[in-house]
Symmetry: C2
Subunit: 216 residues, 2 copies
């Protein structure tokens, strides 16, 4: 579904890693179907956004590509803005699953420094792919980072890995500093205007992680 990529994250984004539990009919089965259908629409929309950019994806295109009526898409997401909000939430959740429970080295089981490297590379790929959605959804400057559970989850993850890697000092601030280097407007600027490819950005993150953890 997504452009060819050798990393685990891209696979996580398009295919569930674990088979879904099938329940025997009744309301729970309906809810389960509804969730599955909703996720399928969002996976289709995510693919279209990754291929064409958020600004070029219409409700019609999502319906056609998913093989459902346009009314179904509108019923589920309200309008285009509602679809884009749901899509950002969906994409962020897939990314979270990948580093929380996905395959190593992004997921559990690898050396913490290797996991930090994989985390940055995956975050950069994810954020550049969905940059349009992130750029449009940015909070006003004076409210940014407040009441932002996805940011807080990333911070807990990075802080945990820094501690596991034996980093001493103000881990809280080091974490906020590392995450600041992955902010979408900066990645977008470096990628689009400065022409830096994603692998250079990922290498830069890895270099910074090595310096912070005292590796390399």
């Amino acid at each position: 579904m997504f452009p060819a990529s050798s990393d685990n994250y891209a696979r996580d984004m398009s295919t569930p890693r674990t088979p879904e539990i099938t329940l025997a009919g009744g309301p729970r089965r309906e809810r389960s179907d509804a969730v599955r259908n909703r996720n399928r629409l969002l996976d289709v929309a995510a693919r279209l956004v990754a291929e064409h950019g958020a600004g070029n994806v219409t409700m019609d295109q999502v319906a056609t590509a998913a093989g459902v009526g346009k009314g179904t898409v509108f019923r589920r997401f309200g309008d285009r803005a509602g679809l884009m909000r749901a899509l950002l939430d969906h994409a962020e959740k897939r990314f979270q699953e990948a580093f929380l429970t996905g395959p190593a080295p992004l997921g559990p089981g690898a050396d913490p420094v290797d996991r930090l490297h994989a985390f940055g590379a995956a975050a950069i790929e994810h954020r550049l792919r969905y940059r349009d959605l992130y750029l449009a959804a940015e909070q006003p400057a004076d409210q940014r980072y407040s009441n932002d559970p996805p940011h807080d989850l990333l911070a807990r993850h990075v802080a945990t890995l820094l501690v596991a890697a034996g980093v001493h000092g103000d881990v809280d601030l080091l974490t906020q500093g590392l995450l600041a280097t992955l902010e979408v407007p900066l990645l977008h600027h470096l990628s689009t205007r400065r022409g830096m490819p994603a692998d250079r950005l990922a290498a830069g993150w890895g270099d910074l992680v090595d310096r912070v953890t005292g590796e390399g």
Copy 2:
């Protein structure tokens, strides 16, 4: 003029370091007077903003504190938004002077790692003092960092110091990463909502600089 502070930067912001050249009458003398009067109004406005917050400073207050008529302030800056834009530009220029030509260790003459430490501490103090102006002037997410000469100047300064400190690798990206940790919305969040005092933020910057440069 500014709240008591032991660092050179605070002094630089309120008093010119070099006496102004006095010209003998004529148009150049008038222009020189105009510049001086404009800077005096901006220094007064900067003090009021630092004391009361940008949202609480009126054109009237600036006129009264500067001992001029309200009409003079309006003639010079058009309106309140024009004053705030001029003030941000003025404050940024004073900050630039401080690290480019001011006293060491922020200015030239000190060890590059010491200068990097001083730079971060001064940037944090400066940006928190004028946070209201910076937060209100932030560029839209998709255009941030493009056509931003003040950011580019800071980047050249930090990159030069990193190279002088013997840092090898992707200095360009390390520079962008370090500067990302000083973005005003993040400093504002950590300071206001997380309750981190400026000296903790400055120590965190210093720790990051030491890790990046291999010091400490």
